[in-house]
């Protein structure tokens, strides 16, 4: 039985429809990331699941139990927000204990469970401190401990690492999935950082224009984005998206992209766009079939990768991600075998993947 099952969820503020007939299923102990740019309604969706959104219409089931009309506290969902939201007048211990107090647990059990979760999050030594005496990292851990302590079957995370420094963010990216797996807690995790989405989520649900446009394992969203918009948001640098020309060929189509040609096993859309990840753009020092000349405009390193901005003869700009900076300014580029996605610019949808490179005819 699903830990969470949302169906027909709509949220309207006046005439503005934020969410439109949204469905989402989360399996027991599954981690699902809700991904999308800011203002797209991710937080609204979390609030609706938690029972905090009066304008929500639709059904919310927890372990098969319909809680659509239940009050927030009757849903027993753990919630961790972006801005910690600790009670300032309470110690860290009292903050963490607050959900158990609300459930009227006895003092010995509360102490035992708070100590256990604090140990797990390595904040045992600051339990008696007030929030103002905690570092940002400790505040965030305290807020997470409070969300975990009641051992809810489901926890909602509203971009909890948005305001913490890069080091802590990275630590939590490693730790949090472990913690949730160990406690067999299902979660919905909101973020607009695709790396965090890939690290945290077993599946990623991409929310755009009021609906979930793709919900799939993280690597699947990365490799095969369902739409141009997803391709633009998921990846850094994002996928190259190049307007192309297509003609019918065989049972499918042949697409010409800045001097390169690819065969796809699908009919060509009226306005084809060829998408290719920067990692799949290959650099060569000599020309050969399937490669075209290009000029290196600039190299902008990213960590250990070299991000190379290229300009092709027809003016097309192409971004490549390489292990080493190219030695020459003038070189040839190709596309790794099988890489590339064909999109339809009109509908925005991905039409086909796995192209076969073809000889360019004059």
């Amino acid at each position: 039985m699903s830990a969470l099952s949302v169906s027909g969820l709509s949220v309207r503020f006046g005439t503005h429809e934020v969410l439109r007939d949204v469905a989402l299923d989360v399996a027991p102990s599954e981690r699902v990331v809700l991904f999308g740019p800011s203002g797209v309604g991710k937080t609204v969706m979390l609030r609706a699941i938690a029972g905090l959104e009066p304008n929500a219409r639709g059904r919310v089931l927890l372990q098969g139990r319909d809680v659509s009309d239940a009050a927030p506290e009757a849903r027993h969902i753990g919630v961790a927000f972006q801005n910690f939201a600790l009670y300032p007048h309470m110690s860290a211990r009292e903050n963490i204990a607050s959900p158990l107090r609300a459930q009227k647990r006895d003092a010995a059990e509360i102490a035992r469970r708070v100590d256990a979760v604090a140990e797990l999050l390595r904040i045992g030594h600051v339990l008696d401190h007030a929030p103002r005496a905690l570092s940002n990292g400790q505040k965030q851990r305290t807020a997470l401990a409070r969300a975990l302590v009641g051992e809810p079957r489901l926890i909602l995370f509203d971009d909890p690492l948005r305001n913490v420094d890069a080091k802590l963010r990275y630590e939590m990216r490693i730790e949090l999935p472990r913690l949730l797996a160990a406690r067999e807690t299902a979660s919905v995790y909101v973020t607009q950082d695709f790396r965090e989405a890939m690290a945290m989520g077993e599946r990623v649900a991409v929310l755009l224009d009021g609906t979930i446009v793709q919900c799939a394992p993280a690597a699947e969203v990365y490799d095969n984005p369902a739409t141009i918009a997803v391709a633009r948001l998921f990846g850094d640098p994002p996928m190259n998206l190049i307007p192309a020309r297509g003609v019918a060929a065989g049972g499918g189509c042949r697409v010409n992209v800045a001097g390169l040609a690819f065969g796809f096993a699908a009919a060509s859309p009226a306005e084809p766009v060829f998408g290719v990840r920067p990692e799949a753009v290959t650099l060569h020092d000599v020309g050969s079939p399937g490669r075209v000349p290009a000029r290196v405009l600039a190299v902008t390193p990213m960590n250990e990768r070299q991000i190379v901005l290229l300009r092709l003869a027809d003016g097309t700009e192409l971004v490549a991600s390489e292990a080493a900076a190219p030695a020459a300014t003038e070189l040839h580029v190709g596309i790794a075998p099988g890489a590339g996605t064909l999109f339809d610019a009109a509908s925005g949808l991905a039409v086909a993947t796995s192209p076969v490179a073809e000889e360019v005819s004059a």
Binding site: M198, D223, P238, L309
Partner: protein, 365 residues
Amino acid sequence: MSLVLENVDKIYGEGSRHPVHAVRTMNLDIADGEIIALLGSSGCGKTSTLRMVAGFETVSHGTINLAGRRIDTLPPARRGVAMAFEGYALYPPLTIAENIGFALRGERRDKAAVEQEVREVADLLEIGPILGRKPNGLSGGQQQRASLARALIRRADLHLLDEPMGQLEPQLRAVLRGRVKARIKERGYTAVLVTHDQGEANAMADRIAVMEAGVLQQFGSPADLRERPANLFVGTFFGEPPMNTLPGRATAQGFEALDEAGAVALRIPAPLPPGIEPGRDVVLGLRPHRLHLGTGAFQGEVVSNQWLGDQAHVAIEAAGRMLIGIHPERFGARLGSTVPFGFDPADLHVFDKASGIALAHGAVS
């Protein structure tokens, strides 16, 4: 043109009971045509430094020379500096095109030529469609790009860019960074950019000046900062994900990494580099990209294995310590399994435990 800061101090409230020493004895020598980044977290002194070069702050001690000419005594307008600053706003009554072309108009250039140049730099920064609009009502990101365009259109001895692309949407970032860098290089501009974002510094700069607590920690190429960090601060601050660090000790046989209880967790046989005597307390540093997974002399438990689309980030627990390794391909190990790992002693950084100063890069003599 070349920019030289010599023994520059910035002390706010000098002579008062609580002076704030924002910048301490700063020395920088920037070559003609170089792009450098002042990198650090907020309050590190990078913005005070930039403001002194621009002339918005007085220099408490020391001198600043641009193209061989002392400028710290000149008013801002006479320093020959083009700027894109957060507080250096666009003129609200003028359109974006008029704002960008303002300085060129002042040079009594031909109107059509100015328009042509404005169009070109606007296209470069993808703000062509808003050239006719006024600044109010534009998004922060658009205003930022307009301000950057206004600086990039000018030929000046020095370009000062304060967080120039901080608000760029990620979709545009790679392309615009490349175009801006190409433009600066093509025209031979000398540029100083200030940023708290090491990604931006790494992408744009030939050399990076890392600042912390008003003190220049290191001034070097991105490769220098990665391969030869001057101290533990630079080692762990620069590089994503951060450097793995292990407290340890030098012995006659090499190095020992210690677990949290102080017991020996890993033994790393290596001849001691010169200047490190047995018994010395050290911190050992290893970049995640230099940790080899699936091969090596050590064993650890895989506690996390995350595929990020183009690389795998793997966390390994060995003797109570967690180490991060980056694998260029998917790493096929299940959580909880034990895998071999290792590293080349030449990739190990050794820092003095007490001072944090780097003692050796590469634990080989």
